[in-house]
């Protein structure tokens, strides 16, 4: 088949003309005190992600281009403001540094048999969290292959997120099966409903729903999980998941901030996503601390210390809701959309007052 290049001879004359077609030359960076980080290699042209990317061949940013290279990407995200954030490199390095193993970093031996109602509530919550982490794994993955590699820094953060969510799925499954219980009934609250994270048609829309409202809420739940843990294993699980989740939330806040500054014409559109997200904050069954659901009842049992102390747990749950909403408001403010809380567009302040009443 076809002509072969004659490589059988001992001496081959090399062309080497490609050496003159390479990217910007003479780049020399040294590791800083914290190693050789992505931030360290943002030098010259290599550190300048274009405002609009015409790279359809998957070329690493700054590499020499070939005119005859195949187009491999039908990238829908080719405008920087659509996915960029100022600290993506930092968040990616942080994610790499702070990975953990659910097999060996959780002190599983500290789990002792618990009263039935507590174990059942823990398993119900673990079932829900396994399910909800599926969303956060599936959805970012879908956007990664849609993004030009010219914006590889945010893409790498999303890859780290998929990894984190995968670990969360597995650690809650482990918890459900580790102490004489089992998985319980799925909530189904994470599938195809109108306005859900899956249905986002735009990256910023997805990020608003997933990173800001969705994961912000789950971060609070993880923190509460640490509070209501019955052993060191649960403490560790929730604490480490909360760390990961806080990183994902940080991505959303910083992307929204960048988008708001670089593409102010999209502010109104983003306000609409926030409107929708806020409607779901308490009503949606994706939020385990939301209106009465299997997960919120399980939380109240855990927080109170048993079914017979449900009322005490419920009051603590109210405190969770309040805290969740306060943190949400502060994050949205930090992202540059605080005005909605002053001009009457957002109902979140009212929700806080209602949950405190």
């Amino acid at each position: 088949m076809g002509e072969a290049i004659d490589l059988a001879t001992a001496e081959i004359e090399l062309d080497l003309s490609w050496m003159g077609k390479q990217g910007e030359w003479g780049t020399k960076v040294s590791p800083s005190k914290h190693g050789l980080t992505l931030a360290d290699i943002q030098v010259g042209d290599y550190g300048n992600p274009p405002e609009f990317s015409d790279n359809m061949t998957g070329r690493p940013r700054g590499a020499g281009a070939r005119n005859d290279s195949y187009r491999i990407g039908g990238y829908s995200i080719r405008t920087r403001s659509e996915i960029w954030l100022e600290n993506a490199s930092f968040l990616y390095e942080e994610a790499l540094q702070r990975q953990w193993s659910s097999a060996t970093d959780v002190p599983w031996h500290t789990i002792e048999p618990l009263p039935d109602d507590i174990e059942e509530a823990q398993c119900q919550l673990a079932t829900f969290l396994t399910e909800v982490e599926f969303v956060a794994g599936d959805v970012p993955a879908r956007w990664i292959s849609e993004t030009t590699p010219d914006y590889f820094e945010p893409r790498n953060v999303l890859l780290a997120q998929v990894m984190d969510e995968s670990r969360h799925m597995d650690v809650f499954r482990k918890r459900a099966l580790a102490n004489g219980g089992g998985l319980m009934q799925a909530t189904g609250g994470t599938a195809g409903v109108v306005g859900s994270i899956d249905l986002a048609r735009d990256f910023t829309e997805m990020s608003t729903r997933l990173h800001i409202s969705g994961e912000g809420a789950v971060l609070t739940i993880f923190r509460m999980g640490e509070l209501m843990a019955y052993n060191d294993a649960e403490k560790t699980i929730y604490r480490l998941c909360a760390q990961d989740e806080a990183r994902h939330v940080a991505f959303g806040v910083m992307h929204m901030r960048y988008m708001s500054e670089e593409a102010p014409e999209r502010r109104e559109e983003i306000e609409s996503y926030l409107d929708e997200a806020e409607r779901q904050i308490l009503a949606g069954s994706q939020n385990p601390a939301g209106n009465q659901t299997a997960s919120s009842e399980a939380l109240a049992v855990l927080l109170g210390g048993g079914k017979d102390k449900y009322d005490e747990g419920f009051n603590k749950l109210m405190a969770i809701r309040k805290r969740q909403l306060q943190e949400y408001m502060k994050r949205v403010r930090s992202a540059g959309f605080g005005e909605r809380f002053e001009n009457g567009r957002s109902r979140v302040q009212g929700m806080i007052e209602a949950s405190a009443a």
């Binding site: 005190k33 914290h34 930092f90 390095e93 942080e94 540094q97 702070r98 990975q99 953990w100 193993s101 970093d105 971060l219 923190r223 509460m224 640490e226 509070l227 843990a229 019955y230 052993n231 060191d232 403490k235 560790t236 604490r239 480490l240 909360a242 760390q243 989740e245 806080a246 990183r247 939330v249 940080a250 806040v253 910083m254 805290r323 943190e327 502060k330 994050r331 403010r333 930090s334 992202a335």
Partner: protein
Amino acid sequence: MAEFPSVAWFEAVAGVFNSDESYRGAGGGQCHCQAGIKVGKRVFLLVFEGFECAEVREVDVSELEPVDFYLEMPLKDWKAMVQDIAANGAASLHYTLNTLDLNREAGLSHSVHGDQYREDLFFRYNQTFQFFFDASARIKTTFAR
């Protein structure tokens, strides 16, 4: 032996923390932030860079403005936490930083600037701070009156 709270105490803890590589894995790892520790009226500034607590100094309360977040409790509550850590080798269930933050009416973690993105560093680096205070189990502590 070091007295809590003092620069000497935080430096002694930092010495243990910085030299134990096991704190760099298991969800620990590099940490870049400035945290304040407020014990009654006294304020200490901890600077974390990479794997280390690189700097400890006592500052005026007005210097809390630039820190990402600060942890505040009265001396008796700090003392209870440090004693619990000393007794158990690490914080027991009721004395972890996150639990104290949620259980205490006034919370534990605060900021002057009110920027949640920066306050969230308390969560993003929570295991590192827990490791840091857990390292205090390995020094002998006395308490100020």
